[in-house]
Amino acid sequence: MTGLNSERLWRLLCSALCLGIIVFLISPMVIVVIVSFSSAPFLTFPPPGLSLQWYRKLFGASVWLDAIATSAMIMLPSALIATTAGTAAAVGLARGRIPGAGLIASLIMAPMVVPVIITAAAMLGVFRVWRLQGTLLGLVLAHATLAIPYVVFTVLAAMRLVDDHLESAALTLGATRWRAFWRVTFPLILPAVLSGMLLAMVISFDELVVSIFLSSPAVRPVTVQMWSDVRGDVDPTIAAIGALLLAFSVSALLLETVLNRQRVRPFAAQADGTVTQGAAR
């Protein structure tokens, strides 16, 4: 009886603690969203009433509209480059028996591990000389480089679950190497490729540190604009832009979750896989 009671107490304690921690994890995001609908003229919580004034202000300000457009123009090509190069590299690493594969893999994964402030400073130094600093192309290339390891990581995990004998079977039946890949292997890894691309998009859209170093007044993504405003006088427009960024990340996460469910089942590695996904920030 005492054993049962103490077990119940233990469980109750654990649930209460967990609830508190979940509130800690989630409440900042919820609060940004609520503040963005505030009717007050300044940042205060809880807001005295609700209104859409900050969104109206946001979508009426050319500074923010330009910044959103810039972010999109960086995100789309960089995600495309990262997904293409990353998927190809994952297939190469998984299938081609290359000498020094370990070394090549660590090189490709390095942007995920090296502290991003170092990457940012280093890129600024070299990109200045190459005249890429402050240009759209520079930011596209930088974001693509940062996102490649995440795509490789995601697709490599999927490649390990696809039996290469399937492709060999297609080859013996007369398919070309190219056709065998596109018709047999690629459909099987497609969900992973798409989630790698989503990840690359989120990394680019949310990226700040490298962007601070590489942007210019003419080419200024949303996060850099928000960064310079947050340090000045803060008004709830920032909450509105923050809420938009959150909406973007959460929809990407929802999509990723759906894709994940359709992946091959034995995916115990997934929990470890997601761990490294945010490491570049």
Partner: protein
């Protein structure tokens, strides 16, 4: 057949070129500058070791990352435990809840803490107006408290997820066996469960600590003048002083700190994965 397999190896070339030219070359260039700019020699490193400002920032970096790691262990363990022992639906929900902050922008989350922690923020207003616990507002931002709260919040998922993946694989029968042999819950936890969870705890701690070492945005926004970390020094050397050699030296120190931490614990990490 062999040459066909080898042919697919060429697919790594675009990624290697991109990462090599746009990442590896710039980073090596910056690190080399530490010993060559403004003149060849170890001047930059002696400057680092002789200046109290830089030493203070190095110490801050280690201390803040260490404290954040500890906080993340305390906050992350219960959640990871709950995730590992919940039913399928609750588990999915919890994973989703942990992944939301994980996918969200660091800047937005730091901004949220600025709103919460400010003088007239939610926390102070709750304590003063709604609960009446205190009279004068607490100083929660632009100091160490703000940095620790913000960084723990941002790094917590990196503790929870590796820990969960280990806890999830612990055989429940082991704890049951200990219980049936008469071990009280606390003792059972300390002697059976906790040691089995150690690999996850170590993996999560290393991840949080190492990531914390290089943090820039959160300490810059939530910290005060006494909480400057090494990443802010790197930024300052470049943006304010144009001193690339010293920035390179700081980068080298930061990189050495992160890699040695990884290497020191890599053996236990590998054990944890197996």
């Amino acid at each position: 057949m062999i040459d066909r397999i080898d042919a697919r190896g060429w697919l790594v070339v675009p990624a290697v070129l991109l990462v090599g030219v746009l990442f590896a070359y710039p980073v090596s260039w910056l690190l080399v500058l530490s010993a060559t700019d403004p003149e060849p020699g170890l001047r930059n490193f002696t400057t680092l070791l002789e200046s109290p400002v830089y030493l203070k920032a190095l110490w801050n970096t280690i201390l803040i990352s260490g404290s954040v790691t500890l906080l993340c262990v305390l906050l992350g363990y219960p959640i990871a435990y709950a995730m590992a022992h919940a039913g399928e639906r609750l588990r999915r929900l919890l994973i989703f809840i942990v992944l939301i902050p994980f996918w969200s922008s660091i800047l937005v989350r730091t901004f949220a803490w600025m709103v919460l922690l400010q003088q007239k923020g939610l926390i102070n207003r709750t304590l003063i107006e709604y609960l009446g616990l205190i009279e004068t507002p607490l100083t929660l931002i632009y100091n160490r408290t703000g940095v620790l709260i913000g960084m723990s919040h941002i790094l917590l998922p990196f503790m929870i997820l590796p820990l969960y993946s280990v806890l999830n694989r612990i055989e429940p029968s082991l704890s049951q066996a200990a219980a049936s042999l008469g071990a009280p819950p606390v003792r059972n936890f300390a002697r059976v469960y906790l040691p089995l969870s150690l690999p996850g705890l170590i993996a999560g701690s290393v991840l949080v600590f190492v990531m914390g070492l290089g943090y820039y945005i959160t300490p810059a926004l939530l910290g005060g003048p006494g909480d400057v970390m090494i990443a802010q020094l790197i930024e300052m050397q470049i943006a304010d002083f144009g001193n690339w050699g010293l920035a390179g030296a700081l980068a080298l120190v930061l990189l050495l700190g992160t890699t040695t931490t990884f290497l020191l614990v890599s053996s236990s990490l590998i054990e944890g994965v197996r």
